[in-house]
Amino acid sequence: MTLQKHLIFTALGGIFLFAVTQQLEPFRNYQLATMAAYLCATAGLTILTGLNGQISLGHGALMAVGAYTMAFAQNGIGNLYLSLLLAMLATTAVGAIIGVAAARLRGPYLAGLTLAVALAIPAFTVTFDGLFNSEQGLPVSFTPPETLPIETWQALTAGGSALLVMFLLANVVSSRFGRAMRAVRDNEVAARLAGIHVARTQVLSFVISAAPAGLGGALLAFLAQNVSPGAFSLTLSLYLLLAIVIGGLGNLAGAVWGAFLLVALPDLTNSLTEGITASPELARKLDGNLALAIFGLTLIVVMLVAPGGLQSLVQRISHRIRKGRNHV
């Protein structure tokens, strides 16, 4: 039954997406598309960290794998959907390799290893500059359709992909495997007693979470019409993690909040700093940094005060409203 419900909501989401993209200005469509790309990655990371309890500081690097595959496929073959698929497959393979190593590590060790991955992937693009063209990166060519504004088309493609990812992941979460993942997170010994193969579950979780991250990276490359290592720095990996923590760990809706924050908060603080016309010097220093500071502080406060993130706040409020209504 859940499958049917997921299908219905995905279809509704698709119709809604189509309607909204027709109304939005190009720049807002571009932002919507960016949010959709981030959503793929945050949803994947939510599966890994929230449901399976494994930390990854390297999902930005996995996005880079998807993005570069996208560039190669797009410049070589040029079929957009095939390229997106190939990007996912390549990232899945890399995710499997990291996952095998990760399944043997816990807590800070896993964090440290994935951190090293995050720093190493940009180094690959520089070391093998003949292939990846170093920091300048590669163009991602495509032919936009004649009938649509390019940003509308991008928003539709990215939004559609994100919907598909959410649909598939929602089904994974409610499946038997989803329960196994949570069992491993909560108590490895108990999970083992219940007949769950812990290491296999962990590797699979990593794989399942890598694929959408790769798709997200490919979409980012598609939106920017190019790919360069600077887009996939350590900061991106940290951003993704903090997005899902602030959004609400272990909850796909939290991933949506997280992706929304990643796009909206820098934009909001930028408009805020633009308001400060007194000193362009100060405005320049605040620009970007203010968003980061707010992110960082929120992350700490959320962890200390409301480990459930934004989504738990929303749940609490809606719960209260519903309760109030019942009393009436």
């Binding site: 989401g13 997406l17 571009y30 520089v126 920091e135 920017a224 970007g288």
Partner: protein
């Protein structure tokens, strides 16, 4: 679980609606004769992307304030055809990924008339296609990559700097005439900047004329291995295609290794005050460094253009140092105003591109500006400079050449005196 999924959908919907609400009114009503986005009766909005922070900020972050200072000066005098120029500077940190975001913001959200002097080879290369799709004039790119001069492929893009191949040829010409028989080596940025410069060197010296080739990336400040390799190859003349921070780093690192070749540096990485500031107590290492330039020397007050710029600089950008970066920024501002004047009263995107393609701009530069219908390259020549006794000054002839196999020849064209109002008319 479907409940959380449904919530997810609601959030997507809500945020999309939010975006829709905040997006405001519709597009610009198109002017009858052409695209006048960013132009009103009283204002022209132009944008740029600059490395105000990050590894290339040393020196380059001083350019856009100088351009702005020139616009402030022009605005104070009433603007051009009654329109004041607003210059919106966005920081991209010399990171190509940031560039494409900030340029989209400038074009799609702020609706600028043109992108002016966007800085950097790796950064700007990645927005060429986007600017083309949106038909945005992409004027006077602050870099010497040959990519800017492709009128067929990118009809809206115009270069400013002499391209790096032209520069490489002029540097190599000097090396050939003055350092014959010495071991010449090269170290450059791992992108089109370095590659174009190396191509120029090889056109004059031959591929075998370069003994050792090394490259660096701006994200990695450890150039020890590269400099070590140059030393091992016993290089006597080293050509640097580097941004200022990495010129300083290379020369400083070489001193650490007790390696002191003749340095020959690309114009974009050679401003003496910038390098001296980076090297601090070690600035003595810069003595004897050779480079090229094509704009008025910031220390030569007998040059009427320098004197003119200095006056504007002191009034509108007084706190910043008056160095090569300031001259560069002011000169770009001057050229843009020249183009605005040439485009006339009914300013459109098509109009300004046609005006620039008509060419004929003369100004602060000592070499020719080449704009024409089939030529979007900028300055076409340079003159050697040398640092001696704490002073970087011009010497020798002004040379011009093309970016193909043509010879390096002397340029003898005249430079006009600056207009008395300091504003082109």
């Amino acid at each position: 679980m479907y409940r959380t999924f449904r919530r997810g959908m609601i959030i997507i919907a809500a945020s999309a609606l939010l975006a829709a609400c905040s997006s405001g009114g519709g597009g610009q009503p198109a002017a009858p004769k052409g695209d006048s986005t960013g132009v009103t009766a009283t204002e022209i909005l132009v944008g740029t992307h600059q490395p105000l922070t990050g590894p290339a900020a040393a020196g380059y972050s001083e350019i856009s304030p100088a351009t702005k200072a020139y616009f402030d000066f022009v605005n104070a005098a009433g603007g051009i055809n009654g329109r004041k120029i607003t210059y919106k500077v966005m920081d991209d940190g010399y990171n190509p990924a940031n560039t494409q975001t900030v340029v989209r913001q400038l074009v799609l959200q702020d609706k600028v008339f043109a992108i002016l002097n966007g800085l950097g080879t790796p950064t700007h290369t990645n927005v060429l296609d986007f600017l083309k799709t949106n038909k945005v004039p992409d004027l006077f790119v602050a870099s010497g990559s040959r990519s800017w001069d492709q009128p067929q492929k990118y009809p809206h893009t115009f270069a400013y700097n002499p391209d790096y191949t032209v520069e490489g040829k002029i540097l190599a010409n000097h090396i050939k005439e003055n350092f014959a028989g010495k071991k010449v080596c090269y170290m450059g940025q791992d992108d089109d900047f370095g590659r174009d410069e190396l191509a120029g060197l090889e056109k004059v010296l031959g591929a075998s004329g370069i003994v050792e080739r090394q490259k660096y990336v701006t994200s990695n400040p450890d150039v020890g291995p590269q400099i070590g390799a140059l030393k091992t190859a016993a290089c006597e003349v080293v050509v640097l295609a580097t941004v200022p921070g990495f010129t300083a780093l290379s020369i400083g690192t070489a001193a650490r290794l007790a390696f002191k070749p003749q340095w020959v540096v690309s114009n974009v990485g050679s401003d003496y005050p910038t390098l001296a500031k980076q090297l601090g107590a070690n600035k003595g290492l810069l003595e004897g460094m050779l480079a090229v330039s094509y704009l008025p020397s910031p220390i030569d007050m007998s040059d009427p253009w320098t004197a003119m710029f200095k006056k504007i600089h002191d009034q509108y950008n007084g706190k910043a140092p008056f160095n090569g970066n300031a001259i560069y920024g002011l000169s770009v501002g001057y050229l843009f105003v020249q183009a605005l004047v040439a485009a006339g009263k009914d300013l459109t995107r098509e109009g300004i591109i046609a005006a620039i393609e008509k060419g004929g701009f003369k100004g602060p530069g000592i070499a020719p500006l080449r704009y024409a219908k089939d030529d979007h390259s900028g300055y076409g020549g340079q003159r050697m400079t040398k640092i001696s006794a704490d002073v970087q000054s011009y010497f020798g002839k002004v040379f011009e050449t093309d970016s193909e196999g043509g010879p390096v020849i002397e340029f003898t064209g005249e430079r006009p005196a600056p207009p008395t109002s300091s504003i082109p008319s």
